[in-house]
Amino acid sequence: MSLDLTKLVGQIVDLATSLKTLGRERAAKLDFALETIKSSAAEFNRLKQRVETSKTTWLVAGLKETIDLRRAAPTCPDDLIVLASDGSHIDVDRHQSASCFLINIGVAHLQYGRNPDAQLFSFPALYFKDDEMVIASPNGQRIQIEGQLLGVKRSVEECRVLAEQAGELKTDLPLVALLDGSLILWGLIGQAYPDFVVRELLVDCFLKYLNKLKEFSRLRQLAVASYISFPRSTDVVNVIRLAVCPYEPVDCDRNCHDKFGGRECDVVGGLLDRDLFARLLAPGERSAIFSSRSSVVMKYYGAQEINFFYLRLDGEVVRVEIPLWVAEDEKLIGLIHSAILDQCQRGLGYPVALSEAHEQAVVTGADREQFWGLVEQVLVEDKVFLESSAKQQSKRTRWI
């Protein structure tokens, strides 16, 4: 039987009512947050120090500039290359006969100006060898790459291909290299992966590729950034939590461990950074630059420390993440800012290069079925007979 929607209608109406109430509460919280930002601007140094010395249970943005800073975009260069990569994957399916996974990386290389050109392509790669499918420690511990870890591996591959493609470009035009999503490999956090897994994927690969891009930037104007549409982050809202916290020093576990929901800082609870910047910024403007104080960034990223700013477009506020070496170069920030705005204008609200890279990378449900069909066909042709699960067979042939 399919989903019985008639039984859900009432619950959906309740959802709408609840959202309406939340919206009113949020508007009041937002007014308070903006008022707090205005009044704390004069005490920037004190707030900055509070951020650095606080012990919080939530993630707080590192302050470099006042929270309410706004910057208009410089003019986007006419002659410009935008390079973007994006990926998708087919995870290991334990019901399938062959143990393997696939990562497909799509690339869009768009050149604007006097010699407009475009290259769109993809790199599908199948991983099936034992050493490709696990991450092993020197003492023999093995972690299978699948599920969330495969998502991380895919992000690493996106960055590898981006760096590779940037290195192959022969022109000296300004280059903006874009990734979709975060430059912080969140998938490695909270899963208690052993240190050798983090080192292998992050330090030995992802950060190495970011470093390659940094090296290329010495030879030409090159900026790298990642683009997060509809961000749900609260790093900056959490700075306001610190501003209103009555305790000194700030220490959530010590002062408020038993006050969940009733803490003084909950006056801004539920707000997102994008709510703040939708009110603070005019269309086209970017926010101040903040640094990420995420544990994984502070422990591993070093010179590639992740910084970010918010950018208001016509339809939404997006988060743009950049490594420290981009954040410290006013020209590169301007290049990223103006190029992303330009890309969004060309792409009807979303960077056209990322959109085309995604189109190259996307693996549809039909592709997935065809892929597994092809795997089986080749195995049968080569007379490799492997078992497959009864559950898989039952999904394929639906009967009554």
């Binding site: 604007y112 407009p116 475009a118 056209v352 085309e356 189109e359």
Partner: protein, 203 residues
């Protein structure tokens, strides 16, 4: 040696066969909007010989059937600017043309009827040179195939376009059209309304 010859003949390739049946094939142009004109004679070649056909429909569309083409030029001055501002478009759109097979060459002989096998998938397609058009249309036997066929476009438009195009390859274009008109009169003798309409299109 044979392959070398194939390469030389196909120096002017403009498209590639992406669908083929005994009576027709579809070719995808290498460059957007660079299709041969309606009614023109094209040929494709493989190891078995050459296949001649008449272009009967040209279509430009999105390469991905799931992505619709949208209007982009409201704030731009020219059509060319749309492609300058959106350089990816040339990679996402494709011009295809459909060709009705009207003859073939086997060995050194030219036949004005269907070949034993359809065109090979991915074989190159090129426009015919004037002398090839002249040689092929010395005989008008292929008109029999054209007037009887059912196409997704008005077939008489295609026949008329083909004859007008072919006439330019002959030293006496008017004489060629008169000869073609007589041939059509034989083929469509009982259908004077259709004949008259077709003859009007030959001017």
């Amino acid at each position: 040696m044979k392959n070398q010859k194939l390469k030389m003949d196909m120096a002017s390739k403009i498209a590639e066969v992406i669908e083929a049946s005994s009576a027709e094939f579809t070719a995808q142009c290498y460059k957007l909007d660079q299709s041969p004109p309606l009614g023109s004679l094209v040929k494709t070649q493989d190891e078995l010989g050459e296949i001649y056909g008449v272009v009967y429909n040209v279509e430009t569309h999105s390469l991905d059937p799931g992505r619709r083409v949208i209007a982009r030029g409201e704030n731009l001055e020219s059509n060319e600017d749309i492609f300058k501002v959106n350089p990816q478009l040339a990679r996402l759109l494709s011009t295809d043309f459909k060709v009705m097979v009207v003859g073939h060459v086997q060995g050194k002989s030219l036949y004005h009827y269907l070949p034993p096998k359809p065109a090979s998938i991915h074989s190159f397609v090129c426009t015919c040179r004037l002398e090839e058009v002249r040689a092929f249309t010395q005989s008008l036997d292929f008109l029999n195939l054209l007037v009887d066929v059912r196409l997704s476009v008005p077939v008489d438009e295609v026949t008329a376009a083909c004859l007008r195009y072919a006439s330019q390859a002959h030293s006496d274009p008017q004489g060629f059209l008169v000869k073609a008109g007589k041939e059509l009169a034989c083929l469509l003798g009982s259908d004077t309304r259709r004949l008259n309409s077709l003859l009007k299109r030959l001017k």
